[in-house]
Amino acid sequence: MTTINVDIAILGAGMTGASLVHLLRPALAQGLTIALLDRQALQWQGDVQSRPPSFDGRATALSFGTQQLLDRLGVWSTVASSACAIEHIQVSDQQRFGQTHLHASEQGVEALGYVIENAQLGAGLLNPLRNLSGVQCLAPSAVDHVQMNEQGAYLRLNDGRTVQATLLVMADGGRSPLAQQLGITYQRQSYGTHALVTQVESLQAHDGWAYERFSREGPIAFLPLSSHQYAVVWTLNNDVVDDVLALDDATFLARLQQQIGHRVGRLQSVGERLSYPLALVTSTEQVRRSLVLLGNAAHSLHPVAGQGFNLAMRDCARLAEHILDQVRRGGQVGDLAMLQRYQQAQASDQRNTIAASDVLPKLFASDRGLLALARDGGLIAMSALPTARRLFARHAMGLGQKATQIG
């Protein structure tokens, strides 16, 4: 069978892989070729019935920075109607005094962030790629074997086809089996907790409020969706998660209401409940010649601050910036020095974001006096000090990092 020759093969057409294709459009216009591979058939319309796993019923909180990037890529206008703006965030601690509010108006922006269902964002990202010249979608297809060679990476698919790429981008999710074939290993640090994700409907409209509450049973995030609905991420200890999943709807809602309090209004219905174990998983390496790991294949974070996808987007934007520059200068897209420069440029952003996502759940999971005092003190100080609040908001909005120059 013939070999498909491309400049870049992207493994995984999830939100990360699809975003990278968009970011590389200027190079596609100059003749760059991309193969986009996924194990699942691509759901161009974001079909809710049969979503690929990465576009499941979950919702993602997009930082203001990510939204700005999607806007520049022309994707935002197609999904804006299904996204909900976060205008206010309340961070609170159950049965303690500390509480802080963040307001978009105070930050001089129209929203602190946006919440969107993954299926909607996925469709918005995938649809425009359908007829993009230079992009070949190979899905469904599974890569059985990868071999690095002088030209880059050589992939053998399970249907007998082969792909020769100058650069292989692995965006195929946590613990990429293909990365492990190349001897790349993962460090996994479990938090001993699960995230229970679902959607709930309240009697009261959310009015653009998001809630981050550190309850006794673990942190809970309520993210506003359509007018009376919230996406809920509830962190629960491993030993209770199955019990909570198994509760009947009324009992579940009562328990959730007890933890979140009454400011969200009376909860009256709940959607499908899913759960997954929480861990910080990072790959031991991210770049080699002709190889780069992106998104969850490189690092998957605790969802507490909702920064996993936003970090992946900043990684994508930074990588695209380096690839575009390389293409403009007539260089090779698999060049190791260029890929190492990319990694260097993203290192501090990754380190800081990972550290923040790692330290927050630990701080709030502990009930020891000093930590509790520190977080009370922290929340009180934050509500008192406009500067601290602005800094926190900038971090939450994903503006803390230097903006990339994609445009």
Partner: protein, 242 residues
């Protein structure tokens, strides 16, 4: 081969590694630093020598950490070592990883007789400080590499700082090998290594240090700090003919 006494081999050193062999691929064992820094070093080598499609010799390959990562980058790798147990570990692990590496128990001097100028790239990391006559190893590496080919060395510097680190054994030492496997007096100054390289007709083209950040718990290559561990790129004169 049952008598290695006349060879350029320190049997006591070999014995130390025999005892540790089973833990070679355990990333939480005393070999952790070696695993942690390997991606950086392998990329350093790949950036200069372009490993994919090349015939590469790994001298003092031990359990095969570097050999495998070079094979996974597309190189055709031969690994040699005088330790029986580490070589068996290396062979077993290669089967597990699905990489094809030719592991042999032979000294570098003997292989130089057998396969002169057969390799595009030769690597010799963390090995010179374990042998009685490092200069002879360097000369043999030079004979094995093709004209224009690269030879990489890494070792430990000999100065008050590395002495202190080796003696105290504090956490922030970049101890690439388990405690007790190093003898300070065998550490090699960069000036000695470069002199031996030049004597062997290898041009020194680059030198970089390896440092450990105890707060971030990360390793880095740092051209400005060769005070403890360092790595040297050398090249044999002549043009590569392929």
């Amino acid at each position: 081969m049952n008598n290695t006494e006349s060879l350029n081999v320190d049997n006591a050193e070999i014995a130390k590694f025999e005892a540790l062999a089973s833990r070679w691929w355990d990333r939480e064992s005393e070999f952790k630093p070696l695993h942690d820094i390997n991606p950086l070093r392998c990329n350093y080598i790949d950036e200069r020598a372009f490993l994919a499609g090349k015939k590469v010799l790994d001298v003092g390959c031990g359990g095969g950490i570097l050999s495998e990562s070079m094979a996974q980058r597309g190189a055709d790798v031969t690994g040699i070592d005088m330790g029986e147990a580490p070589l068996n570990v290396a062979k077993l692990h290669a089967l597990e990883s699905g990489v094809d590496i030719d592991y042999r128990r032979i000294t570098v001097e003997q292989l130089a007789e057998e396969m002169p100028e057969q390799f595009d790239v030769v690597t010799c990391l963390e090995m010179l400080e374990h042998v009685p006559d490092p200069a002879a190893i360097i000369a043999a590496c030079q004979r094995l590499v093709k004209p224009g080919g690269y030879v990489f060395f890494s070792t430990l510097n000999r100065n008050p700082k590395s002495y202190l680190f080796a003696i105290i054994g504090a956490e922030y030492i970049l101890r690439l090998l388990p405690a007790g496997t190093h003898d300070y007096h065998k550490f090699i100054k960069p000036s000695e290594l470069t002199r031996w390289a030049r004597t062997a007709q290898l041009d020194v083209v680059d030198m970089t240090g390896m440092t450990y950040n105890p707060i971030r718990k990360t390793y880095a290559l740092n051209a400005k700090d060769v005070s403890v561990n360092y790595m040297v790129t050398t090249r044999k004169a002549g043009s590569t003919s392929q």
